[in-house]
């Protein structure tokens, strides 16, 4: 999640916050389109979105959305999501107490010589795994917060970062 969003303001000077929402939804056709359509139709932001079935028998999926907006807009987004018929639960992990947030990313870094050695060294520091290598390239795999992934990407850029694939944030509240 992008911390810097906390410092942004909208046209009226209202603070724009980033919130991580977790939705439990019926895994039926069109449910993702409904959620995305709500965001685009009403002009809300999606910073990141992940979706997968989490309860096969109950046919429930979990959608994790990171969105930004003023406090009023965030409340409105939650109320609008709650109105969708296939949405069973809406949790705002940002306000409901501490939560763990993780994202998985793959980075392809192409280079040789010092740059290549430096990339590998930094990957170790960041606890990224090498999941593919050729004589000119590495694919690193890393799991962490969105900020950590951003930071690693920034470091890799001058070292030959070619491509990046990110899953988007998955999040759970801490404790029971």
């Amino acid at each position: 999640m992008n911390k810097s969003a906390y410092h942004m303001r909208d046209a009226n000077g209202e603070i724009i916050e980033a919130h991580t929402l977790a939705l439990m939804v019926d895994n039926e056709s069109g449910v993702l389109a409904r959620v995305i359509g709500l965001f685009s139709g009403r002009g809300y932001n999606i910073e990141s979105l992940t979706v997968a079935e989490v309860d096969h028998e109950g046919r429930r999926s979990r959608i994790t959305v990171v969105t930004t907006g003023t406090a009023i807009v965030i409340e409105q987004i939650k109320a609008q999501l709650g109105r969708l018929v296939p949405v069973h639960e809406v949790h705002d992990l940002t306000v409901e107490g501490p939560a763990v947030q993780r994202e998985l990313a793959l980075f392809k870094v192409v280079g040789s010589g010092d740059a290549r050695i430096e990339a590998l060294r930094l990957a170790e520091i960041f606890r990224a795994n090498v999941v593919d290598s050729t004589l000119e390239s590495f694919v690193f795999e890393m799991t962490g917060t969105a900020e950590k992934i951003d930071a690693f990407a920034d470091l890799m850029r001058p070292l030959g970062l070619r491509e990046i694939a990110r899953t988007g944030v998955a999040a759970l509240s801490r404790g029971v």
């Binding site: 019926d26 056709s29 069109g30 389109a33 409904r34 359509g37 139709g41 009023i72 409340e75 409105q76 109320a79 609008q80 709650g82 109105r83 969708l84 018929v85 296939p86 069973h88």
Partner: protein, 582 residues
């Protein structure tokens, strides 16, 4: 019970208590039409255009409190229904629309008359379904009725591929389906109710701001509203959608509020110290400039839809609940606590309201040579108000004048397109109302331009003997557009004439109904009576003053207390910033 999908559709409708379906056949719904043919319980009204079917169902629904049902074919049949669906979504009208679809094995191949109906209608329905298995068809239809009518009502669409209609499956009755998870909260939070009661007890300048939610909640909600407002001596205003919830003859009645609302209503909203919004949603047509909206009031919002609360206006107290249930609790708690109010403060507040009323904001310049539209509506009101009367409207100036000059004593008597402002709504809606109330007087107050948009439905009125009265205030102008062009666009009347209008009397004859034209104020009463007495549909061409503007008016971007009362005040009133608003 095993049966075909098509038979299931008809059985499910019967089990849901459906008496009328508005529809139009086509290839993808032929099996359902075949089943309709072989039964007599459900009446089918054959429309002339699917948009007409949806508006008829809306009129039917709004005047009865029951969901309206529509049946259309795939592709163009479904896309023609889109405007009506959007209209029903914005005005919270319960509809169940069944559409045919190409067979499942053709979906996605650009088959003949294939459209992605659930994709197209996703943003304009409360929910929709594509049924891919006959075993699930009956349960889906029952769930459709549940979703359309529970919580904040709205339109749903069920898309049924043709092979699903032919295939056999097991029918399940409404009470045999698994309880749908969609169960919106209807009972209010009792702490919030207690807080509201306390606010009513201590308010010095309270106002009830009511909306379509009161009507949707059912007649009991209107009764409770009347009881509380009258007992507490609290003035009541209403949105366009809520007219009739509180009677026009009631002692607290302020009239409609908003852009073309009454002076007393808008001034009361601006000056109140407690605003209780009941089933209304702070539409931009109501609030005017937000920064100056009712600056000194505590605001309470009762709404069944949590997303309506704090959407536009931050309120001090939000109560999620059904209006009827909430008002019942409010009345109970307030009564238990001795029905206290600030009697003296309220008396002086009501005196203030009386002063505002004395401004007589609906005054217009009378004429003995041309029919003023306001005069036409005054006469219509005088001659019909004691009758068993239902009014629908089109969209434009005539709609606003109708809201200002007609009085409604009961809910469900006034059908208009509020949220979407759909020209072409009124004629089909009037037919839907008449089908539900065959013996009532049903009048569509229309503008000539709007009326032409769905005039083909006169054929439906004739075929099904719906004696609807089309009262057209013909100013040969897209009057509302003309008014804005005069006030905001330097009197450049770009394309706001109604050129090449038909001869409405001959048009009536062509449809086989009665046509009346009236242009002299002296003849108006007789002409209106002739319309009312005629046993059949009438097209009444009322030639009115062409350049009349609708007042009062809060120009876009202005506050409630910056209302214009008449022509003299209109020079240069709308600034560039306001002109950008619609």
């Amino acid at each position: 019970m095993r049966m075909s999908g098509a038979k299931m559709v008809v059985q499910a409708l019967k089990d849901q208590g459906v008496e009328v379906v508005f529809g139009y056949p086509g290839g993808a719904v032929l099996p359902i039409y075949d089943e309709l043919f072989q039964q007599n319980d459900i009446r089918h009204i054959l429309v002339r255009h699917e948009q007409g079917a949806v508006h008829m169902a809306e009129g039917y629904a709004r005047s009865t409190g029951k969901p309206g049902v529509v049946l259309v074919t795939s592709g163009p049949g479904a896309t023609n229904a889109v405007t009506g669906l959007t209209d029903a979504l914005l005005d919270s009208i319960p509809l169940v629309v069944l559409s045919g679809q190409v067979p499942t094995f053709l979906i996605g191949t650009d088959g003949f008359q294939e459209a992605d109906t659930v994709g197209i209608t996703r943003p304009c329905t409360k929910h929709n379904w594509l049924v891919k298995d006959t075993e699930k068809l009956a349960a889906t239809i029952h769930e459709g009725f549940h979703v359309a009518t529970k919580g904040r009502p709205g339109p749903v669409l069920i898309d049924i591929p043709k092979d699903i209609q032919f295939a056999e499956g097991t029918y399940v009755a409404p009470d045999a389906i698994r309880v749908p998870h969609y169960q919106p909260r209807t009972a209010p939070d009792m702490d919030a109710v207690a807080q509201l009661v306390q606010m009513i007890e201590t308010a010095e300048r309270p106002v009830f701001y009511t909306g379509g939610g009161v009507i949707n909640s059912g007649p009991e909600a209107s009764r409770l509203l009347r009881e509380i407002a009258d007992a507490a001596n609290i003035p009541v205003t209403s949105t366009l959608m809520g007219l009739g919830a509180y009677p026009a003859s009631g002692k607290g009645w302020l009239g409609m509020l908003g852009m073309h609302g009454l002076y007393e209503a808008n001034m009361a909203m601006h000056g109140c110290d407690l605003m209780v919004s009941i089933g209304a949603r702070f539409d931009d047509r109501v609030t005017g400039r937000l920064a100056d909206f009712s600056p000194n009031s505590k605001k309470v919002h009762i709404d069944i839809d949590p997303s309506s609360i704090n959407k536009i206006i931050h309120v001090d107290l939000g109560i999620v609940g059904d209006v009827g249930k909430t008002l019942a609790e409010v009345l109970r708690v307030w009564t238990e606590r001795g029905r206290k109010v600030k009697t003296e403060a309220l008396a002086s507040w009501n005196r203030q309201v009386a002063e505002w009323k004395a401004v007589r904001c609906l005054t217009y310049k009378p004429s003995s040579s041309t029919i003023k539209p306001q005069y036409a509506l005054e006469r219509l009101e005088a001659l019909t108000k004691d009758m068993d009367r239902y009014i629908t409207t089109e969209v434009g100036q005539h709609q606003m004048w109708a809201a200002q000059f007609l009085g409604f004593e009961d809910p469900n008597r006034w059908m208009t397109s509020g949220g979407l402002g759909t020209m072409g709504y009124g004629l089909p809606a009037s037919i839907g109302v008449q089908i539900a109330h065959p013996d009532a007087l049903v009048i569509n107050v229309a503008g000539e331009a709007s009326w032409l948009m769905n005039m083909q439905e006169m054929g439906t009125a004739m075929q099904f003997r719906a004696p609807v009265k089309q009262f057209i205030l013909n100013n040969e102008r897209l009057g509302m557009v003309r008014q804005w062009q005069e006030l905001i666009h330097g009197e450049r009347y770009s394309h706001s004439w109604s050129e090449s209008l038909p001869d409405f009397v001959k048009l009536a004859e062509a449809f086989g109904c009665k046509g009346i034209q009236c242009k002299d104020p002296a003849d108006l009463d007789d002409a209106i009576m002739e319309m009312i007495r005629y046993d059949g549909p009438v097209i009444f061409d009322c030639l009115v003053e062409k350049h009349e503007n609708c007042f009062p008016m809060i120009p876009s971007g202005k506050a409630h207390n910056e209302m214009l009362l008449g022509e003299a005040e209109t020079q240069g009133v709308i600034e560039t910033h306001g002109a950008a608003l619609v």
